[in-house]
């Protein structure tokens, strides 16, 4: 990236963040399936093998449990590994390493060991990859104490969240929604760094708060635009960080608008959206003018056919309808 403003895709922004980290710190290395010679299944790491060599860009066997475990070991040993898992669906093979080891070692060692591990993974649906490659399970990880879970949606967050994650002495999971990789826009050189603590208001409004993150951010912003044309000013809160949740930003917005609709590509039952709704109930019940609404994916394994996949996912029209319902309109 050069100085000034440049047109960049989300994919490029992530690649640039990895390059920057590799250049800045010799302890940083990247490993995962097909990240080297193939350039990454979403082409995020294309070119990095040539630039940094096979010691720092390491192709791994198809064994998520093994290479995530190796990442934990490297982190314990003083390295700063970035582990890429192709999709969150495959990360289930490494659940034991992530949940039982990475998340617990600091606590079980009484603070003697830290695990400065970063795991990147793709999440979400929309590319017709069917039920085994399309789920949004980041909410499961947000359940686990000891993990930090971040969801960059904008170019700026895609470009700068990795640096903040590497600085963190504890495991950080970065979820990149597959429908964001091709989004492009302008990113100015003087942007960043960003934090991985806070939610942010992406669009101010006063009538209803739309809470979302990751892949549904832009659908939600589109919905807010539609609502604006009908005189409804929706405030859009991008959570950015799913664990720990930034309750302050969320609740300040809900207290202001008195209405909330949560937009989450995860399923409703036992979900992150349920958690957010519960927090609003706990802390802002007396400020509400309407029940909290939710727009989530249909409770089915994500379908393969395009029209069914689209029908199963949260879409702008449903977000608009839910916002209007909260307003009694």
């Amino acid at each position: 990236m050069t100085n000034g403003v440049c047109e960049i895709t989300y994919r490029d922004a992530v690649r640039e963040s990895i390059r920057e980290a590799l250049l800045a710190d010799q302890r940083v290395f990247l490993m995962g399936e097909d990240v080297g010679r193939y350039g990454g299944c979403y082409a995020v790491t294309k070119g990095l093998l040539d630039e940094f060599g096979s010691d720092r860009i390491r192709d791994t066997p198809l064994s998520e449990s093994a290479f995530v475990g190796a990442g934990i070991g490297a982190a314990l040993g003083g390295m700063r590994p970035i582990v890429e898992i192709m999709t969150v669906n495959f990360s289930l093979l490494a659940l034991d390493q992530i949940v039982n080891n990475a998340a617990t070692i600091r606590h079980m060692s009484g603070g003697q060991f830290e695990v400065p591990l970063v795991i990147r993974m793709a999440t979400g649906a929309g590319r017709q990859l069917a039920a085994q490659h399309s789920h949004s399970l980041e909410g499961w990880y947000a359940h686990i104490p000891g993990l930090k879970v971040v969801t960059p949606a904008t170019l700026e967050d895609a470009r700068f969240m990795l640096a903040a994650a590497l600085v963190d002495p504890n495991p950080v999971l970065i979820f990149e929604h597959v429908m964001l990789y091709n989004r492009s826009g302008l990113l100015s050189a003087d942007e960043g760094p960003v934090d991985i603590r806070s939610a942010i208001v992406r669009r101010p409004g006063k009538h209803v708060t739309l809470v979302t993150y990751g892949g549904t951010l832009f659908k939600t912003l589109d919905a807010a635009e539609t609502l604006a044309k009908e005189g409804v000013e929706a405030e859009v809160v991008d959570l950015r960080v799913l664990r720990p949740l930034d309750g302050e930003t969320l609740l300040a917005s809900v207290r202001k608008t008195r209405r909330a609709v949560i937009v989450d590509e995860g399923w409703r039952s036992g979900s992150l959206s349920a958690e957010i709704s519960a927090r609003i109930m706990e802390a802002a019940f007396w400020d509400l003018d309407a029940p909290v609404g939710r727009v989530c994916s249909a409770e089915v394994p994500i379908p393969y056919p395009h029209h069914l996949e689209e029908a199963a996912l949260p879409q702008s029209a449903a977000i608009v309808a839910a916002a209007k319902a909260a307003l009694g309109a």
Binding site: R258, W286, D287, L288, D289, L327, G328
Partner: protein, 380 residues
């Protein structure tokens, strides 16, 4: 949801005017519904106590959907429970609810924020009208009340003329497609009727004067008593006589469109009662506050183009009715009386009738009956 015409498929409940626990009697207005004909007040044929609402304000439901449960008037242990629906239409399956809904409202809902605000400002919640989801009282309603704005007036939406035009288009196209109309026309001398009106009105203040329109309606109503095949509906089983003589009176709406609400049992009303109802109907059409029974059950329509219009109108029957009587404007014309040509006030009466239900011979007799009635106005 009452059916307010053959063309109506669904309506939106705008507001409840009675609450669960309220005692109601026949004729009470219990709710306002939004239809293609504008906001319509739903009046009721039952007596009893509203047990609970079945439909929330803001909800659009198919015609025939029960709106509320009414427990029978007798406080007997096994109180009869009947459902409100002015005209039972074909059973329409109730759409499955999307997600779990909160239980149907009992007392009016108040949002948590509104409750707190009301408590802080010392505002009573009774009598406030909610503008939130499902008609809930929300903080904005309290703020309005606090600033002296009072409760938000229940604002029935303004009549949507484009929507009404579509409704008229559907009904009239249906009529011309399905109904084999035949048309008859006759000229009626008004000398006696107008003289009687002048005499009767001479001693009355303007607000209580009778108009020719009332005489015409009454004459039609009385004539129908002897020509029942023009009063009723054509159904799949053929002609079905109306249970009473409920004359739909076509009333034009400023800005376009028209409705034909019924004057019920017009044959049994005195001319004064009929005139009062006519005035009331016109006033309510203009402010968009018609009642469901008025729109649901006219058994025939009368269109009276009145002053400053044309001499003859051939109407289109409003299905499923079988006849429409039209009156043009009263005019002064040369008229032969006992071999002399004299000037007389005349009116043209027409009949558009459904040939499936009646024939021209009976139609001619029907028009002649109307003529006879108008020659004896004092007997109307």
């Amino acid at each position: 949801m009452p059916s307010l015409g053959a063309d109506m498929e669904a309506g939106t409940l705008v507001e409840w005017l009675k609450r669960p626990g309220d005692r109601i009697k026949r004729g009470d207005i219990v709710a306002v519904v939004e239809t293609q004909k504008g906001a319509i007040e739903v009046d009721i044929f039952e007596e009893g106590v509203i047990e609970r609402w079945l439909v929330e304000p803001g909800t659009t439901v198919p015609v025939g959907t029960p709106l509320a449960l009414i427990a029978g008037a007798q406080p007997a242990p096994a109180a009869k429970v009947s459902e409100v629906a002015a005209i039972p239409a074909a059973q329409v399956p109730v759409a499955p609810s999307r997600v779990e809904q909160p239980p149907a409202a009992g007392p009016a809902r108040v949002s948590p924020a509104a409750r707190r605000l009301a408590a802080n400002r010392g505002i009573a919640l009774d009598g406030l009208t909610g503008s939130g989801p499902g008609g809930a009282i929300v903080s904005a309603d309290i703020e309005r009340a606090a600033t002296g704005g009072g409760p938000r007036p229940a604002a029935p939406k303004r009549l949507d003329l484009a929507e009404m035009r579509r409704a008229i288009a559907a009904a009239m196209a249906h009529s011309k497609r399905e109904i084999p109309h035949y048309y008859l026309c006759t000229t009626i001398e008004l000398t006696r009727s107008l003289a009687w009106l002048q005499e009767t009105n001479a001693t009355r203040p303007p607000a209580q004067r009778l108009l020719l329109a009332a005489l015409l309606l009454k004459a039609v109503a009385r004539a129908l008593g002897e020509a029942p095949e023009f009063n009723g509906f054509f159904t799949a089983e053929g002609f079905k006589p109306g249970a009473g003589i409920h004359i739909g009176t076509a009333i034009a709406i400023r800005g376009g469109g028209l409705v034909a609400p019924a004057i019920r049992d017009a044959d049994k009303l005195s001319l004064d009662e009929l005139m009062a109802q006519l005035r009331d109907l016109v006033a309510r059409v203009r402010c968009g506050a018609l009642r469901s029974s008025e729109l649901s059950d006219p058994t025939i329509t009368v269109t009276n183009l009145g002053e400053r219009s044309v001499e003859t109108v051939f109407g289109v029957i409003y299905p499923p009715q079988v006849a429409l009587v039209g009156f043009g404007m009263p005019v002064e014309r040369p008229w032969a009386v006992a071999g002399e040509v004299v000037a007389r006030r005349l009116i043209t009466a027409t009949l558009a009738a459904d040939h499936r239900a009646s024939d021209g011979h009976r139609g001619a007799q029907f028009l002649a009956l109307i003529d006879q009635r108008l020659q004896s106005p004092e007997a109307l």
